[in-house]
Subunit: 488 residues, 2 copies
Amino acid sequence: MEQRAKTRTGEVMDAIRRKIAGRALSPGEKLPSIRRFADIMGVSPSTVVEAYDRLAADGVIRARPGSGFYVSGGAPPLAVAAVEPRLDRAIDPFWVSRQSLDAGAGMLKPGCGWLPADWMPQAAIRRALRHLARADDSVLADYGGARGSFALRRLLARQFADEGLAVGPDQILLTLSGTQAIDLICRFLLRPGDTALVDDPGYFNFQALLRAHQVRIVGVPYTPTGPDPALFAQALEQHRPRLYITNSALHNPTGATLSPQTAHTLLNAAAAHDLVVVEDDIFAGFEPTPSPRLAALDGLTRVIRIGSFSKTLSASIRCGYIAARPDWLEALVDLQVATNFGGPSPVATEIIVAALSDGSYRKHLDGLHRRLARARREAAGKLDMLGVRPWLTPRGGPHLWCRLPDGRDAAAVARAALRDSLILAPGNVFSVSQSADGFMRFNVAQMENPRVYEALGRILAAPPVAEGAGEDAGDHASRLTAPAPASA
Amino acid sequence: MEQRAKTRTGEVMDAIRRKIAGRALSPGEKLPSIRRFADIMGVSPSTVVEAYDRLAADGVIRARPGSGFYVSGGAPPLAVAAVEPRLDRAIDPFWVSRQSLDAGAGMLKPGCGWLPADWMPQAAIRRALRHLARADDSVLADYGGARGSFALRRLLARQFADEGLAVGPDQILLTLSGTQAIDLICRFLLRPGDTALVDDPGYFNFQALLRAHQVRIVGVPYTPTGPDPALFAQALEQHRPRLYITNSALHNPTGATLSPQTAHTLLNAAAAHDLVVVEDDIFAGFEPTPSPRLAALDGLTRVIRIGSFSKTLSASIRCGYIAARPDWLEALVDLQVATNFGGPSPVATEIIVAALSDGSYRKHLDGLHRRLARARREAAGKLDMLGVRPWLTPRGGPHLWCRLPDGRDAAAVARAALRDSLILAPGNVFSVSQSADGFMRFNVAQMENPRVYEALGRILAAPPVAEGAGEDAGDHASRLTAPAPASA
């Protein structure tokens, strides 16, 4: 027994040493709390206490009284970081994004929200880069205009005109990303303590963003044809939200499409309660045929349209946009100057204009639609064999919102999957009400490797593991709203 | 007399029509108030009233009762925008940035804060782009890691080590710009109603940014060796600020250098009052020899280092960074995920790493230092002939902070210069206390065209024009903190 405890202490010590060597823990970084690390390693807290004490004696880590243990300082080795999955991260709205963004090369990412790089129009991007290498000096080294590239705004205005939305290029502001577009709008319209409405389930980062703005978040249950109109009206009545953020074209995570009736009803309710609607059109390129758009119905009176190019062109070349009423847009331009000294890189917008204007882009989109439809069928078939069933079959896009079999807890499955180098998107990260614990969002474009299904099958076949309580919920998010004091 | 009034009305109407045709006023955009436009055009308010009424009768603009006049809607022409200087903009912290960013090709910009594009390392950037056209798919189309390019963070960590600041790559977060770096820090540390300290004079966009965070701004008078230590201590005592934002290397706008004594004294005062200091190192590349750095003295205990590559590499390829305590940095990473879904474009960071690692970069900097020293001597000599004298001679960088002759008002000179297609940076945009109306910041790298001195000479030789009161000050900035209501 003592021997076994010693071995376990050694295992914990080895795990910490590996994290430090692999730079998953940096000099000066705080180690996980003893309780949390005991949970992660499946050992008793006293084993972790002993391991931490011995590592401190070795000088590998050091204790700060009343604060915890920290990795010792000293000039760190300048080796290439071996990124490891962060097993100790809480299942919160940051869970999927941080895991997906920082995934190492060996990780599979059915939980991430974008396409593999080789599904993107690589040839067009490379042509754009070679073209850019011969551009004017000012494109390569000067700031762009405060609204960003006129050529790209004109191109967007033409796209909008095609959907019946008459917007001049000056009513468009280019931003650094789709997310930053919404962030600017939140800065403009929201104050701490205001209320904002999101879909439930809905895109997890809307929650993370709204929390950063210290607003109350209210979720409206999402149906296969949009938010439930009666509950939407009730939420407006009861909570008087200032803003509603939603996806158009294909809803994230469900892949559902807004019906014309729901769109019309929502806008009437919004008008009656003086609600501003942000329509995130980021999935437009995935649509095989057009669906109702709030911005087009409303004519940008109270709807603000945002979007980006990261889903069907490149997530690396960062750029988003806002189309809004001229008076609002002018204030948003100033806010972007104040907070970012202007818009996206002229280098980025040149590449985007070139790639979008490249004759091959329409063909690329058609190819994507076919490839995604095939991948969707295949993934749905294989998931079905595991008892994992989609809530609905989307018209396009990479997402399948699925119910897990046998009341399995998606967070527990996602945690187990991480140990198998699999990043999943458990339902509750999308749910303000935390009512989607039996759901999981899958990205069919990231599931071509059979290892995905092998690992999922193994995890779902094993009996459920009891989860350590108190790790999920809001303790992580609260860090954003209650910053560390400036103590030395 | 009646004939003359008619002509004037026609002139005002023509001016509005030109603005609309040139897209300086967009469909739906609000026209300047009658009083303001009367001031700008040098006509009586009744002339403007008549002009607006007649344009409204023509359908060119329309009145909204109780609100003012707006440009009529309708699908705007998709022609290339002819950018015009905005004569009606208030002289506030946005004045220089918006004018400089949106300057048309014919404008000269001695007031802007960056180098002409052909002073930048164009050959290295073009080599980097050609190289990038052959990069891995994932660099061209995938999101980067949440902290951004490891290669660039390692390169920065090595630079920091050279100045005696031991920081691991994981203690560095890449951001979308230097300004966005400060914005993230403000989000993390400040709450509406907090107080922040800036230099007076100091970089105007610090004011714009802090106003967007709805904090009180207190200025500390800047001396040739840094902020006045006694007044700095007094401001801490009296206002209990949470944050102080300043430039290292070469202060903006004065070009002054912090002395070792002042640096040491400031940090002691900061420690005594639990103040966090943001050191903006954006001008580091302009320094011929190193000067004291707060971050290096403090070891990143309460100092946060930020910077970017826009001054000596490229303002187009947008990227900044933050180096901070590990616990703060981790929260900043989450905030950047929430508000921008991660960091800068991998495309951007690849170009920057390649250009900085290019053997030619050190030589480029040496060349810049020589070229700037020569330009500084020449500009100082020519300005001297006009009676414009620098407050001090900076050790490097493009800026000369100059006193105008004969008590001339810098805002009036800057307004007059705009009519001559010259963008200037009048002193008070840099001054929280509005006490720098006799000063002007010049950028010697933007003054090679003799037209700059001809126009300046003409304006300074003419008798001062009385300025319309009430246009400057904070009415513009207040738009950011009191957003338009969501009325249809």
